[in-house]
Every structure is written in structure tokens, then in C-alpha cells.
């Protein structure tokens, strides 16, 4: 049985070997989580974008110091918190800016009760709603084995091997089912995103 290699560690190694573009894959993977984390401190979406961007830049600059004694995301998370706190502190020096009630409980908990920033436009809310609906409908329409596979992977966080045991099928079948589920959802999302003017990167 082949040992599974964590993508993150491999990508970091490649960046440390001078492959800048491998860092982009880490950005793509974690940007939403980092943005959301930073938003809890900074509140303003535009500022949160800047802080998120700065977080990744600082992480890139410091990548040579990452030794792999923790998960890459744990390390990135700390950089994000530090960067966000600094941004808030800088903001406080400006008396015209109202202080945000940043919640730092040391944990990245999902709290959907947080109210949306007032800067969120109705249009962007509609886009999010449409995307949520598209994903939900795509999941509804999936054949059961595909939906099960992607659920066990993305929501339960199970490895391919554990999913294979749970679904009583070969690992190759798990890999195929997860891919086909993703692609079925992705196909619908591409239509939505392209329509909204999505860009290639």
C-alpha cells in the first residue's frame, strides 16, 4: 500500500526548492478560509481582502522558516491572526475608525450566525445564493454512490482507504466516484461562474 503524501507538505517543499507557482495552489486551497478568518478581526471586506493577501505574501516570504513540525495550515493560520491583529491595531490609532469587536477564541469555529458585513452588496449575496443553490441541486441529482463518496471525503474527512472500507469497494472506485461527483458539481458551477464573469488564473 502506497503511503499517502500530504499535498501541502509536498507543495511547500517545491516552493522551498524555488517553484513559486506551487505556492499558488496553496493559496487557491486556503484563501477562502483565511479570508473568512481575517474578516472576523477586520470586519470590512475590502480590508479583509488586503489582509488576506498580505498574509499569503508574508507566508511566502517566511516559507524558508517552515520546518514541517506542524501542518502548513496551522502555520498559515498563525500568520493570518498576527497580520489581522496588527491591521486592527493600526486602525485603532486612527480615531475616526470605530473599533471592531474581533473575536479571537483561538479556534477557527464556523459561526454562520455572524451577520454579513454591511459592505456586502445585494448582487454578491445573490451570486452566493445562486452558487449555494447550484451546489445543492447538483448534490441532489448525483447518483447515490457518488454523493456518498464525496460526502465522506469532504464532510467526514475520511481517507480514500476508509471510504473504501465503508462503501465496500476498491480504492480506485472511491477515487473515481469522488472525481465524478466533483466534476458533476463543477460542471454546473462553471456555467454559473462564467456567466458572472469568472476569470481564469
Amino acid at each position: 500500500m502506497e503511503p499517502t503524501a500530504d499535498s501541502d507538505a509536498l507543495l511547500v517543499q517545491q516552493v522551498q526548492a524555488g517553484h513559486q507557482k506551487s505556492f499558488d495552489l496553496l493559496v487557491a486551497k486556503y484563501q477562502r478560509r483565511i479570508y473568512r478568518l481575517v474578516l472576523r478581526f477586520v470586519r470590512d471586506p475590502a480590508k479583509a481582502e488586503d489582509v488576506a493577501q498580505e498574509t499569503f505574501l508574508r507566508a511566502y516570504r517566511a516559507i524558508g522558516q517552515f520546518r514541517g513540525d506542524s501542518q502548513f495550515y496551522t502555520w498559515l493560520y498563525r500568520i493570518a491572526v498576527n497580520t489581522a491583529k496588527k491591521a486592527v491595531a493600526d486602525e485603532r490609532k486612527d480615531p475616526t475608525v470605530s473599533e471592531g469587536d474581533a473575536v479571537d477564541d483561538g479556534e477557527e469555529t464556523f459561526r454562520p450566525t455572524e451577520r454579513l458585513s454591511s459592505s456586502e452588496t445585494p448582487e454578491s449575496m445573490l451570486v452566493s445564493k445562486e452558487i449555494a443553490r447550484t451546489v445543492n441541486e447538483a448534490m441532489d441529482d448525483l447518483p447515490e454512490d457518488l454523493r456518498t463518496a464525496i460526502t465522506l471525503r469532504e464532510i467526514e474527512g475520511m481517507s480514500y482507504e476508509d471510504i473504501a472500507n465503508a462503501m465496500q469497494c476498491p480504492i480506485g472506485t472511491v477515487r473515481s466516484r469522488i472525481f465524478r461527483a466533483r466534476e458533476a458539481i463543477a460542471e454546473r458551477l462553471r456555467a454559473v461562474i462564467e456567466h458572472k464573469g469568472g476569470k481564469r488564473w
Binding site: 499517502t4 499535498s7 509536498l10 507543495l11 511547500v12 517545491q14 516552493v15 522551498q16 526548492a17 507557482k21 505556492f23 493559496v27 487557491a28 486551497k29 484563501q31 477562502r32 493577501q53 499569503f56 505574501l57 511566502y60 524558508g64 522558516q65 517552515f66 514541517g68 513540525d69 464556523f110 459561526r111 454562520p112 450566525t113 455572524e114 454579513l116 454578491s124 449575496m125 452566493s128 445564493k129 449555494a132 443553490r133 451546489v135 448534490m139 441532489d140 447515490e144 454523493r147 460526502t151 465522506l152 471525503r153 469532504e154 464532510i155 467526514e156 474527512g157 481517507s159 462503501m167 480504492i171 477515487r175 472525481f179 463543477a186 458572472k196 464573469g197 476569470k199 481564469r200 488564473w201
Partner: protein, 255 residues
């Protein structure tokens, strides 16, 4: 000779699951990083994962632009070469693999995974209730919505939970999106934020009210996990909540 990466390979790479020998992984990731189509697929698959995991991690249409900005900014930076650090990563990676598996997902998923592995051939379905925004009302937590859904359906942003239970007697009303083996009693919880038009044929709409102080905003999937735990524990059809509308009866009224 085409060296482009297939979408299936991108999918597996994102999961860190390699069917090939160790050395292929690094080359595969570099190939993905350098291929425009592969990068777009990697981003979209990562976004789908985030969407499924949390009601609040909304896909933003500007995601691709963000990556492009960071990428461009990095190109202006000196290239980092840190081989010593890379060697240290290698040395610690095996031990880390175990830790990584436990930490990559919320802690409760590892317990569920252990339970799931003990159950053979059971189909489990659950996915995130993505909150709707109606009349400017902010989205509320799926866990909380499970409680307010008791009020007979959405009054605001609450989605309705529809349990689909396959009875051993082969009650056809219990079959959800697909037929389940009749020999198994499985409780499936499906979260649906849409209007009744999206109801699966045959599925009886109902609402689930979690019993006890189970749901917390920290665990939006709490009600689903309880359902899983029930299944992992003994294949019992009981859902850990008051089923407001048993499947055998008339459909609950939904606005």
C-alpha cells in the same frame, strides 16, 4: 507527447491521495501548478469542498482574481530556496501523516470515521444546509435552523430538514434519491434549503428537532453527526431527535 494532467488526477492530488509511487506526486503537483486548466480545476474543486463543509464559506466569484493577485505579487519576490527546511520536512513527514489526518478535519469527524469503518456497506448521506438570505435576514446557523425548523418550515432563513428512512419492510415512501438495500435500516438526513419544488420524489418532508443541547454553532453538522453515530452504533433507525412527521404519515405542511 501530451503531459497535461487529467481532472481525475487533479482531484486525487487535492486530496493528497496518490495511486502512484511517491516520486510521481511531486512531479504531478508541479505539473498542476504550471497548467492553466489544471489550476482552474484545482481551485474549483477546492471551492466545492469549502462550500460543502460550511454554510458560511461562500464561494466568491473573485477567488480566481485573488489568486492571480497573490501570484503576481509573489513573482516580484525573490525566489525562496530553502533546501535545509525541505529536508527537515521530509524527516518529519511520516510522523506528521498521522497528526495531519487527525487535524485536517474537525475532531468529531475522526470519531465518526471510526464508527463508519465498522459498518459495512452502509450508505450515508448528509450535506450542508446552505443558508438562504431572505428579505435581508442574515443566514442563521444550520444547527439553530434545525431547531427553528420545528416551526413548520422556513420562517425566515431556516431550511427544512427532510429525513429519509428506508424501512426494512421496504416502505417505498422511505426511499430518497436512490433505492437503498432493504436489509438495512439507514437514517439519512438531507438538508435542503429550497422551496418544496426541490423535494425528491417519494421523500416525505418533515422537520427534525434535535433533542437536548446537542447543536452548537461550533458544530453546524451536529445533527447529521448524531445520525451517523446512531448508524455506526447499531444500525438503529432512530434519529436522535423528535421526528415531527413520520414517513408513513401524510406529508408535513410546508410553506
Amino acid at each position: 507527447m501530451s503531459t497535461s494532467v487529467t481532472r481525475e488526477q487533479v482531484s486525487a492530488a487535492l486530496d493528497g491521495e496518490w495511486a502512484e509511487p511517491q516520486g510521481v506526486a511531486a512531479a504531478r503537483l508541479r505539473a498542476i501548478a504550471g497548467d492553466e486548466q489544471a489550476r482552474a480545476d484545482w481551485l474549483l474543486y477546492a471551492q466545492i469542498g469549502d462550500l460543502l463543509r460550511s454554510a458560511d464559506l461562500q464561494l466568491r466569484s473573485a477567488d480566481a482574481a485573488f489568486v492571480a493577485r497573490v501570484s503576481a505579487a509573489i513573482e516580484q519576490e525573490p525566489v525562496v530556496i530553502a533546501p535545509a527546511a525541505a529536508r527537515q520536512i521530509d524527516a518529519g513527514r511520516e510522523a506528521l501523516a498521522q497528526v495531519a489526518a487527525a487535524h485536517r478535519r474537525p475532531h468529531w469527524s475522526t470519531r465518526i470515521a471510526a464508527g463508519m469503518a465498522a459498518v459495512a456497506g452502509v450508505a450515508v448521506m448528509a450535506w450542508v444546509a446552505l443558508p438562504t438570505l431572505r428579505d435581508g435576514v442574515p443566514a442563521t446557523a444550520p444547527a439553530q435552523m434545525a431547531m427553528v425548523g420545528n416551526a413548520g418550515g422556513p420562517s425566515g432563513a431556516a431550511p427544512v430538514l427532510k429525513p429519509v428512512v428506508a424501512q426494512q419492510s421496504g416502505n417505498p415512501a422511505g426511499v430518497g434519491p436512490a433505492a437503498l438495500p432493504q436489509s438495512q435500516q439507514v437514517a439519512l438526513v438531507q438538508a435542503d434549503l429550497q422551496v418544496p419544488a426541490a423535494v425528491q420524489p417519494g421523500a416525505q418532508p418533515a422537520t427534525l428537532t434535535p433533542r437536548g443541547a446537542v447543536a452548537s454553532s461550533d458544530l453546524p453538522m451536529a445533527e447529521f453527526l448524531l445520525a451517523h453515530q446512531q448508524m455506526a452504533g447499531g444500525m438503529m433507525p432512530v434519529v436522535p431527535a423528535v421526528l415531527r412527521q413520520p414517513l408513513a404519515q401524510a406529508p408535513a405542511s410546508r410553506p
